[in-house]
């Protein structure tokens, strides 16, 4: 079964035995939990679209291991075209779900590991790449969703892992056995963790020899013994428990993040992809982060939805012809397409690594993600400007349906006489959802911190640009002779 459909994916999740806590209580039925389910549906969309003729050209690829057709989320990029299609897939799914569909982080981990396991083997004669490829084939054959788990809690940010007062602030090995290792620690902010079949662990930062117990990478089934999930809250999350669905904004989809605790968890050797080769931790972080920065192509798709919503509310409010509204819509599009430029550019300017995997252009991937830390905020600001204050003062769906006051809501919140008040409420709730409700977690704060906070990209940009060459151009044009040092 190299390609699952949405129904098969949902059924496969039911077979997992995850230990999940939310609001202080154990969640036994994760798949049907009303707060979690929209996020499951968003991942399910990655399976659904792979089975649609009108999307399969982007959503599927040919495995370089087996030659079979597989979901692109399980694919190792074999060409620049693969990289470009990955960016397009992000936009497509962002627009389809209007939220974070969670599956990119696993794809990025797989691609980063395909490169770095090869590089470690080249230096040490180890067999991580062989192990990894066996694991990859298993992932591809079963069309699995993987959580890419990089971010540790990190404790005091000013200290290295071995300097922390609590040694568990970074995932580390606590025991080495004949058949594998035992690890302890946690991974924070894990996107889509509860919707994943597998969890792939990578170090968070580059490391020195003193930190070698922390320089580990491995993969486990998401329900391996000792793994505990504590679901993160999202703004407005409990609206999903309410009777109606209008106030949710997005009727179908959502995202989620969780704190994942590893309480002395056993990892067999065949699932270990890095073990104390500390000098490769930085390379794995950089490879994963660059791929993942490209993945923020998804925000272009969510931007498409928000622009569509802003234009719709402008029409409902009767202001669509005002020049400043038109101009704001143009500006939103300009910003959104500028984001698109970045994710397409870093893909098309990628290259082939010694492992054979195609890797994005890291400078452009970082520039792209830096833009992502800003533009969705401005696009949201413009959407809120166009929407008017009602997007945050609108009474609830229950008031709208109330036999006592519903008529007043209906009457006073009607704008364009040809548009039902309910439609106006729906589009306002969607704008609220994306710019400050549950989906704002993905569209805004994830844009800020996901794949690294803004400063992380600026450091990468400063490392990658060739300043000397720029100076040489400038000096030549104004007639400065090269100074002899």
């Amino acid at each position: 079964m190299a390609i699952m459909n949405a129904g098969q994916y949902e059924e496969s999740l039911r077979k997992l035995n995850l230990v999940v806590y939310m609001f202080g209580k154990r969640v036994k039925n994760v798949v049907d939990n009303p707060i979690i389910r929209p996020s499951m549906s968003a991942v399910a969309a990655t399976y659904e679209l792979a089975n649609k003729p009108e999307h399969e050209d982007i959503m599927t690829a040919t495995s370089h291991l087996t030659g079979k057709k597989i979901n692109r989320f399980c694919h190792i990029h074999q060409s620049l075209d693969d990289l470009v299609k990955k960016s397009k897939m992000g936009r497509l799914l962002g627009a389809y779900t209007g939220c974070c569909f969670q599956r990119c982080v696993g794809m990025d981990s797989l691609n980063a590991l395909s490169i770095v396991t090869f590089d470690i083997d080249a230096k040490y004669g180890t067999e991580y790449n062989k192990r990894f490829l066996k694991y990859l084939e298993y992932v591809q054959e079963n069309d699995l969703t993987c959580d890419g788990a990089m971010t540790d809690p990190k404790g005091d940010r000013g200290r290295a892992p071995h300097q922390q007062s609590d040694p568990d602030m970074f995932m580390h090995v606590v025991e080495e056995r004949k058949d594998g290792i035992v690890v302890r620690g946690a991974k924070a902010h894990q996107t889509g963790a509860l919707n994943s079949h597998e969890i792939i662990i990578m170090p968070t930062i580059s490391m020195r020899e003193e930190d070698k117990d922390y320089a580990i990478s491995f993969a486990l089934p998401s329900d391996a013994k000792g793994i505990v999930y504590i679901m993160g809250r999202q703004s407005c999350d409990t609206r999903k428990l309410e009777k109606g669905t209008i106030d949710r904004g997005n009727q179908f989809y959502g995202g989620h993040e969780a704190l994942v605790v590893f309480d002395n968890v056993f990892v067999p050797w065949e699932r270990v992809f890095m073990y104390k080769e500390y000098e490769f931790a930085g390379s794995l972080v950089e490879k994963f982060a660059s791929y993942h920065r490209q993945s923020y192509a998804c925000k272009v798709g969510v931007g498409d939805v928000l622009i569509g919503a802003a234009q719709t509310i402008a029409e409902y409010n009767g202001v669509q012809k005002a020049s400043h509204i038109k101009d704001k819509i143009i500006e939103m599009n300009h910003l959104n397409e500028t984001l698109y430029c970045g994710c397409i550019a870093c893909a098309s300017q990628g290259h082939k690594e010694p492992s054979g995997t195609y890797y994005v252009n890291t400078l452009l991937a970082n520039v792209h993600k830096q833009n992502v830390t800003r533009f969705p905020y401005e696009i949201s600001r413009l959407a809120q400007d166009i929407a008017g204050g009602l997007m945050v003062t609108l009474p609830s769906e229950e008031d709208f349906k109330s036999t006592d006051v519903g008529k007043w809501v209906e009457k006073y919140y009607k704008a364009n006489p040809n548009v039902p008040t309910e439609n106006r409420m729906r589009i306002l709730r969607l704008i609220e959802n994306i710019t400050l409700g549950t989906a704002a977690v993905g569209y805004l704060t994830e844009s800020m911190h996901g794949a690294g906070s803004p400063q992380a990209q600026r450091i990468m940009i400063s490392r990658q640009v060739n300043l000397k060459e720029k100076q040489r151009s400038a000096k030549r044009l104004c007639g400065i002779e090269e100074e002899v040092k």
Partner: protein, 100 residues
């Protein structure tokens, strides 16, 4: 006629609706099959924009018609209805034609 879509990341028109329109307008003059079908004699590539990125390598040697906008689709429909199109492409020969 095999139907091959691009992935539809940011299409400039509703590709699926346009294909439905072609099917409806042409009636039984054409039959769409999936790209893996053995008896594909012709390929309609429905591309969402002028980038036209659908991977068509599997159709080597088979005539392909690309549409990238609604107007392209209209032209195709007219050609099929006027019955020039399939003759021109050699898909049907005048002799073997039973319908007019």
């Amino acid at each position: 006629m095999a139907l091959k879509y691009c992935g539809g990341c940011n299409p400039l028109y509703n590709r699926v609706a346009v294909v439905k329109h072609i099917e409806k307008a042409c009636g039984d003059l054409i039959e769409f099959v999936n790209p893996e079908h053995r008896d594909v004699v012709f390929v309609l590539a429905v591309q969402g924009c002028k980038v036209a990125c659908a991977d068509l390598t599997q159709f080597k040697g088979i005539p392909i018609r690309i549409i990238t906008c609604v107007e392209d689709a209209e032209r195709l429909v007219n050609e099929i209805i006027e019955n020039n199109f399939l003759y021109e492409k050699g898909v049907r020969s005048q002799n073997s034609e039973s319908r007019s």
